[in-house]
Each structure stands twice: as structure tokens, then as C-alpha cells.
């Protein structure tokens, strides 16, 4: 066997050099390698000082907490400093205090503050566990979660952001969500805007007002008009450069790669969590995900592409690695969709090349849909032939959507007819086609004014898909 291989290599080496074939797409144990490098780096970091004495009893810790609660000003700071000096010795007792129920809640609030001041990995872990309590068991004191979210930034631990982000997924207490969002913002991440927006539109008037004012303050700080502009700018990737102002710590990078590793778990809970956290993460996660496109594990690389797709324009830095990923069979369709969503025009040519009849059907459809998202300027020649009735329906409809992105109001008949038929045939598939039409309506401007109004009026009509299809079909009629 090995001999065969070397003969082949020999033959290959002697063959006359013609076109230099591109190097094959490499698949490697990327995640395993990154994790072991980072773990080694972490092991080299100076260890936290060993506790100089036995751990404190809960009652002793409570006496110290009582001193914090019972004093003000400098005295309070001094009492807090006593706890801080005890460091690891007092962490176990403070952790126990976080879930106690038999004493003054003010002591628990002080325990949160003390742990954030101690700021060692174990102290931060205690706070994060408390923040996550409602995911394991009923939590009689939701305000403690809000308290942990509020105090965590004191610890200045960038690696905790990963868990704050995940908390956004599960948290149901509005006050806690607001504090999670603020704490994340303090560390450079605007991931909380989505949750704040939900609360701002929600039924709890008091919290809605609070969320709105937070959003407004952030908008002001960025010279934007208001919450809507802020949220659009966040999704548009306008703050990427400002996220993560300092290079992330080893621990934070380890967290990111551990999430990437979770993308390959069998249980979807871990996968869903990882996707959620990574999508909300900043630029260093984009770089890591771009590397992970070369992982030998199919679930890692395919889901990495999916995460980049969900990040949209915030993942701009991954465009070139994604174009390269179009060469890998399993990765190609999600990589194509990611390129469409990220929205960099330079991906157009590469996507249009994937429409070729020699490519797999799944990839051709993904490429056409990506061109619909991206706008197909200059690629009409590759798309036009796909409108032929002999083209399988999925591909024909995707090509129509892509072509619509470059059609004017008067020359979109064929595309509109196909899209109308697609919406009519299958209401369950309508939303992406409707989004395509909406982009077209917005782009063609004035001539579509009347259509735009009627289209919008149908937004909440129970028979929306059918009626919208009729609207489009009528518009297509005189032209086809």
C-alpha cells in the first residue's frame, strides 16, 4: 500500500508541470491544536497566590459581611478590603452565602460585591454559577442574578463575557437582562441590544422605559439618533472595530475555542448554546471561526460557517476564508449562504462560479440564494439561463430572486411571475421570497410606491401569502 503511494508520488512529480493545481482544501485537527496551545499558555501564567491559612467558616464570613453592610464610606471600603485580602480563603464561604436563605439579604448582596472584588477565577466562577442558577433549579431570589450581572464587571475578567452572553439566551428576569446588557457593553460588546429591544417593546412599562433609556444613552454616545439606528448599526457590523479594545486574554480565547469544540457535540443543547454565544461574540471569535473552517470534524466546520452566516456583516473579516471554503464539499453550501449574508460585494464572482451545472444541486441553489442576498450586479449572464423551465424549481426560483436584485421596476416581469408562483405554491416557504421582494421594492423607489403600500397593508392579513402572490402576478402580467 505504502509502496503504491510512493510510486504515485513519483509519477506525479515527474509529470510535466502544466496549470499549477490549487492546493487541496486542508482539513486538520484545528480545534484540538488550538486548545492544547492555549491550555499550555494558561499553565505558564502565574498561579494565584496560595491561601495563607484555612478557609473561613460561613459564620466568620458573615461577620465580615456584616461589617460591610453596617458601615459607610471609608469604613465600608475598609471592611470590603478585609474580605479582599482574605482572597481564596473566604471564597468557599461567600459562595455558600450566595444561595443561603436564612439571613439578611443585604449580606448576600455584599457577598456578591466581595467576590467581584476578589476577582480570582474561583470567585468569578461562583458569581457565574449563581447567575445561572435558574437553569438548574427554581431560584427563590431572581434579584440575586441581577445583582451578579451588575457586579461582575468589577472583576475585569474578559473571559466571563462568554457566560454573560449565554445568560442572555436563558434569562427571563427583565432586570437581570438589563444588567447583563450593561455589563457586556462595559466590556465593549453590544450583544445586549436585542434583549433590550424586546424588553423595550414588552408589557412591563417600568422595565420598558429603563431599557429604552439605556438604548438611547448608547445611541447618544455613538452619535446615533436612537435605538432603531443603534440596533441596525450593531447588526451592520459598524462597531466591530471597537469591540474587544484590548487583545483577549488566554482564558477568553480558551472559552471561545471550547465553544467551537462544542459545535461537534451530539446533544444539541451544547451545540445550540455554542452557536448562540459565538454569534454574539466579537472579532477574535470571527478569526477563530475562520480558522475552524478547516477543522477535520464536519460538525465543527459546517457549524462554524453557519455561525458566520448568522453574524452577517459583523463577520466581514471571514470573507476570504469563506470563499476558499467553497471548495470543500460539505462546507460549500453554508459557506455560500454566509457570503450572501455578510454582504461583501467581492464574493459575487466566486458565488456566480458555483452556479455551474457541474456543481452539486445543493450548492448551486445556495449560491443563487446568496446572490439574491448580496445583489447580483454583473452576474446576470450566469443567472439568466437558469430561468429556463427545465431548471429544477428550487434553483429557478433562487435565480429569479437573485435577478430581481438587479431588475428595475419595468423589467422584472419574468422574475416576479416566478416568485409569485413560489409564494402561491407554498406559504410555508414564502418569507424569504417576501424579503427579496421587499428589498426590490425599496430599491426601485418611486414607481413602486403604490405597490409598496398595498404590500405593507397585507402584512398581518391571514391570507397574506396568497394575496401577495396575486399582487405580484398582476404586476408581472402585462410584461411577460
Amino acid at each position: 500500500m505504502r509502496r503504491l503511494a510512493s510510486v504515485w508520488l513519483f509519477v506525479a512529480a515527474c509529470a510535466p508541470a502544466s496549470e499549477p493545481a490549487p492546493a487541496p482544501y486542508t482539513l486538520e485537527p484545528v480545534v484540538v491544536r488550538e486548545l492544547s496551545t492555549l491550555e499550555a499558555a494558561l499553565a505558564r501564567e502565574p498561579a494565584s497566590p496560595r491561601p495563607a491559612g484555612p478557609p473561613l467558616e460561613l459564620s466568620e464570613a458573615r461577620d465580615l459581611l456584616g461589617a460591610v453592610v453596617g458601615s459607610e464610606g471609608k469604613l465600608r471600603l475598609a471592611a470590603l478590603d478585609d474580605l479582599k485580602q482574605l482572597g481564596e480563603r473566604v471564597v468557599p464561604a461567600l459562595r455558600a452565602e450566595l444561595v443561603a436563605t436564612d439571613d439578611d439579604p443585604a449580606l448576600r448582596a455584599a457577598a456578591v460585591e466581595a467576590l467581584a472584588e476578589i476577582a480570582s477565577p474561583s470567585a468569578i466562577e461562583a458569581l457565574l454559577e449563581r447567575l445561572e442558577r435558574a437553569r438548574r433549579e427554581p431560584d427563590p431570589e431572581p434579584w440575586m442574578r441581577a445583582h451578579c450581572a451588575w457586579r461582575l464587571p468589577l472583576a475585569k475578567a474578559d473571559w466571563a463575557a462568554d457566560r454573560l452572553l449565554l445568560a442572555l439566551k436563558y434569562e427571563t428576569d427583565y432586570e437581570t437582562v438589563i444588567w447583563l446588557a450593561r455589563s457586556l457593553e462595559a466590556s465593549g460588546s453590544l450583544a445586549g441590544v436585542v434583549g433590550l429591544d424586546v424588553i423595550a417593546r414588552g408589557p412591563d412599562a417600568e422595565r420598558a422605559a429603563e431599557a429604552t433609556s439605556v438604548l438611547q444613552a448608547w445611541a447618544d454616545a455613538r452619535q446615533l439618533a436612537g435605538p432603531a439606528e443603534l440596533i441596525a448599526a450593531y447588526h451592520g457590523g459598524e462597531f466591530v472595530a471597537r469591540e474587544e479594545p484590548t487583545p483577549p486574554s488566554v482564558r477568553a480565547r480558551l472559552r471561545t475555542w471550547t465553544r467551537i469544540q462544542s459545535l461537534s457535540e451530539w446533544q444539541l443543547r451544547g451545540v445550540d448554546d455554542a452557536r448562540f454565544v459565538l454569534v454574539q461574540s466579537g472579532p477574535s471569535a470571527v478569526d477563530a471561526l475562520a480558522k475552524a473552517l478547516h477543522d477535520e470534524n464536519r460538525y465543527v466546520r459546517v457549524h462554524a460557517a453557519q455561525v458566520l452566516e448568522r453574524m452577517g456583516p459583523r463577520a466581514r473579516a471571514a470573507v476570504d476564508p469563506l470563499i476558499d471554503a467553497l471548495r470543500e464539499r460539505e462546507l460549500a453550501p453554508p459557506a455560500a449562504r454566509a457570503l450572501g449574508r455578510i454582504g461583501e460585494a467581492r464574493a459575487r464572482r466566486a458565488l456566480a462560479a458555483e452556479l455551474d451545472a457541474a456543481r452539486r444541486f445543493e450548492l448551486r441553489v445556495a449560491a443563487a440564494r446568496a446572490l439574491a442576498d448580496l445583489g447580483a450586479e454583473g452576474e446576470e449572464g450566469a443567472l439568466q439561463p437558469l430561468l429556463d423551465p427545465a431548471t429544477p424549481l428550487d434553483l429557478r426560483n433562487a435565480a429569479a430572486s437573485a435577478l430581481l436584485s438587479v431588475r428595475g421596476f419595468d423589467d422584472a416581469g419574468a422574475e416576479l411571475a416566478l416568485i409569485a408562483a413560489a409564494i402561491e405554491a407554498n406559504a410555508a416557504e414564502a418569507p424569504p421570497y417576501e424579503a427579496t421582494v421587499e428589498r426590490w421594492l425599496a430599491r426601485v423607489g418611486e414607481p413602486a410606491a403604490e405597490l409598496r403600500t398595498r404590500w405593507a397593508e397585507l402584512a398581518s392579513d391571514p391570507e397574506r401569502p396568497r394575496k401577495r402572490a396575486e399582487l405580484l402576478a398582476a404586476l408581472a402580467q402585462p410584461r411577460t
Binding site: 437553569r135 451530539w266 444539541l268 448568522r310 460539505e330 429544477p392 428550487d394 434553483l395
Partner: protein, 326 residues
């Protein structure tokens, strides 16, 4: 034996068999490879299987209104994986499936279950000349074939732990119960309707309801006699509730619930009834000393309109009912 010799012997046997075939019966020309782009293409030649599949919930996996509501019309793209999957054989038996880009409306379709990475069709026979070029593929009948989608909530593991998984006369696998032979005749192939919780007759076969008096007290028993896994299994929105009432009364009183709660319901335990297990419950109420009715209901969504006063006759389906004299 020398391995070289085995190869030689096999080659000779193969060659003579081939010669025989070549001389006496020229093999039909292999069909040109055909790339299927929709399961509706299978309908032309497999109308029966297609009609059954259309009746099944697999065909509704993308359009099912409950799924669409819970997934926010698949805006939650995490839900696409199993409800519009790429072929199981592409990712591999027992591995998780990945979402597909095309013809999602067909849900869990012929292609998802039958298409092999070599673009041929997994079946029980080799027929290279048929348009779909089927290849006998044993893995298609394996329980692990169902696992990519049906083992997230451990249905396959539950089956493995049951007596049905033991080799011998009592052996029954997923296909025995969910894909029986048409008319019980193996030569007719398997029924693609794949009945599950939506089929009341199947649910009735899953459990037995008994009620008796022990020392004057009413005692109810529910035994899992017919499900090859927990009752109810898989989808966490399913629930089965036990109710009772004194004869002549109209309101049902809640006694017990079988259900695997959603992840976020951290205060609820998993109370599914494992295969072969029996739940025994005493009705601890003086009113149960008289004549009573007991009933087991089945529900597709776990919540009641009025949780404090559930109305199972309106919001659930009756599985079994029993009566007990004073």
C-alpha cells in the same frame, strides 16, 4: 489459508459466474446516473410508498403548524436540521443530520432517508438497471438509522434498555412496530405511514389502565405494555394525564402526569413511563370510596387553558377509561 489463495479462489469463482451470466443472460445495461432534485420524482414509479409517506408526519415535518409556531417559522434555524435534513447516509448512520438548502417543504422525505453518497438509493435489493439504481443496504433497517433524529431525547437508548432489544422471539425494533410489512406480508414491503402519537390506535396499544380496591382504597395502575420505549416518548410537548372522578360528577380530578418536561421547566421531574414499567397510584381521597371513573388522556401540547381546572375532554384525547365499584 494463505490470503493470496483466497483472493485467487474468489477471483476464479467470480470470473466463472460472470462468464456464465455473460453467456446465458446478458445483464441489463446499468441505468444512467440520475440526480434526484425532489422526492416528487419518486412518485412516478413508487406511487404506493409515496402516498403512505404523504400521510405520515415525516412529510409534514416542515409545514406542521405546531413546528412552525414553536420555531417562529424556522426563523430559529436550529430547528431546520431534522425537519428538513440532508440525507442520513451522507452524514452517516447514528450521526446527527445537517440542514439542507433545497426543497425544504418536503420535510423528512424519500431522499433524506434513501439517498446514498454515491447517488444511488438505499433499499433491500440491488437493481442497477432501475432508474434509481437501488443497492441492498442493511443499515437502512437498523435502529441507528432512526437515531440521528430520534435519539436526542433518548428514544433509541430507551429501546436498547428494553426487553424488545434482546435477541430472541420477543425481539421487536423500530420497524417492527412503526413500519410493519404491508398486510403483514414481507414480500409487499413496509408501510411508510410510520404511525406515532397521532394515531390513537397505536397509543391505546402502548399502555394498559387498571383500577382495583386494596384495603378499601382505590388503586390505579398504568403499565407500559406496548411501547418499545418510554410512554410518551421523544417530543417533549407530549403529555399523558391520569384523571379520576366520583361516578356522576362532571369534573375530572388530576391524579398523575407522564411527561418529559422542557429544558427550562427545572422544577419538573421526568415522569415518562419506561417500557414494561408500571405506575401504581392510590387515590387518597374519601370521595374515592364510592363508585369512581378513572381515565387516561393523551395530549400534544403540555399546557391546559385553565391549569387549575383542566378540561381533558376538550383539550386531550381519551386513551383508556375504567370504572370501580364501591
Amino acid at each position: 489459508m494463505n490470503p493470496g489463495r483466497i483472493v485467487l479462489a474468489l477471483a476464479v469463482v467470480g470470473l466463472s459466474a460472470w462468464l456464465l451470466l455473460a453467456v446465458f443472460r446478458p445483464p441489463p445495461p446499468p441505468a444512467p446516473p440520475r440526480a434526484f432534485t425532489s422526492s416528487s420524482e419518486c412518485r412516478d414509479c413508487h406511487a404506493g410508498a409515496y402516498a403512505e409517506w404523504q400521510e405520515s408526519w415525516h412529510s409534514k415535518a416542515w409545514v406542521d403548524s405546531d413546528v412552525r409556531m414553536l420555531s417562529n417559522d424556522f426563523a430559529n434555524t436550529d430547528c431546520i436540521d431534522c425537519h428538513a435534513p440532508r440525507p442520513v447516509f451522507e452524514t452517516g448512520i447514528g450521526q446527527r443530520v445537517l440542514p439542507r438548502e433545497t426543497r425544504r417543504v418536503e420535510g423528512v422525505d424519500c431522499i433524506a432517508c434513501h439517498l446514498r453518497p454515491d447517488d444511488r438509493i438505499a433499499g433491500t435489493i440491488d437493481a442497477p438497471s432501475a432508474a434509481c439504481r437501488p443497492v441492498a443496504t442493511r443499515e437502512l433497517a437498523n435502529v441507528d438509522f432512526c437515531a440521528p433524529c430520534h435519539n436526542q431525547h433518548n428514544t433509541v437508548d430507551q429501546w436498547r434498555a428494553s426487553k424488545y432489544a434482546q435477541p430472541g422471539p420477543g425481539y421487536q425494533d423500530c420497524l417492527s412496530c412503526h413500519m410493519p410489512y404491508r398486510d403483514g406480508d414481507p414480500s409487499k414491503g413496509r408501510d411508510h405511514r410510520m404511525h406515532g402519537g397521532h394515531d390513537l390506535e397505536l397509543v391505546k396499544r402502548a399502555v394498559e389502565l387498571r383500577v382495583k380496591r386494596v384495603d378499601g382504597k382505590a388503586v390505579v395502575e398504568v403499565e407500559n405494555v406496548g411501547a418499545g420505549h418510554n410512554y410518551p416518548t421523544d417530543e417533549r410537548s407530549r403529555a399523558s394525564d391520569l384523571f379520576w372522578r366520583p361516578r356522576g360528577e362532571t369534573t375530572w380530578r388530576h391524579l398523575y402526569r407522564f411527561r418529559n418536561p422542557y429544558r427550562f421547566e427545572v422544577d419538573l421531574p421526568n415522569t415518562e413511563l419506561p417500557a414494561h414499567a408500571t405506575l401504581t397510584r392510590e387515590i387518597d381521597d374519601p370521595a374515592a370510596a364510592g363508585a369512581i371513573e378513572v381515565a387516561l388522556f393523551y395530549k400534544f401540547s403540555p399546557y391546559w387553558t385553565t391549569p387549575t381546572a383542566p378540561d381533558p375532554e376538550r383539550e386531550a384525547v381519551l386513551v383508556h377509561r375504567a370504572e370501580l365499584e364501591p
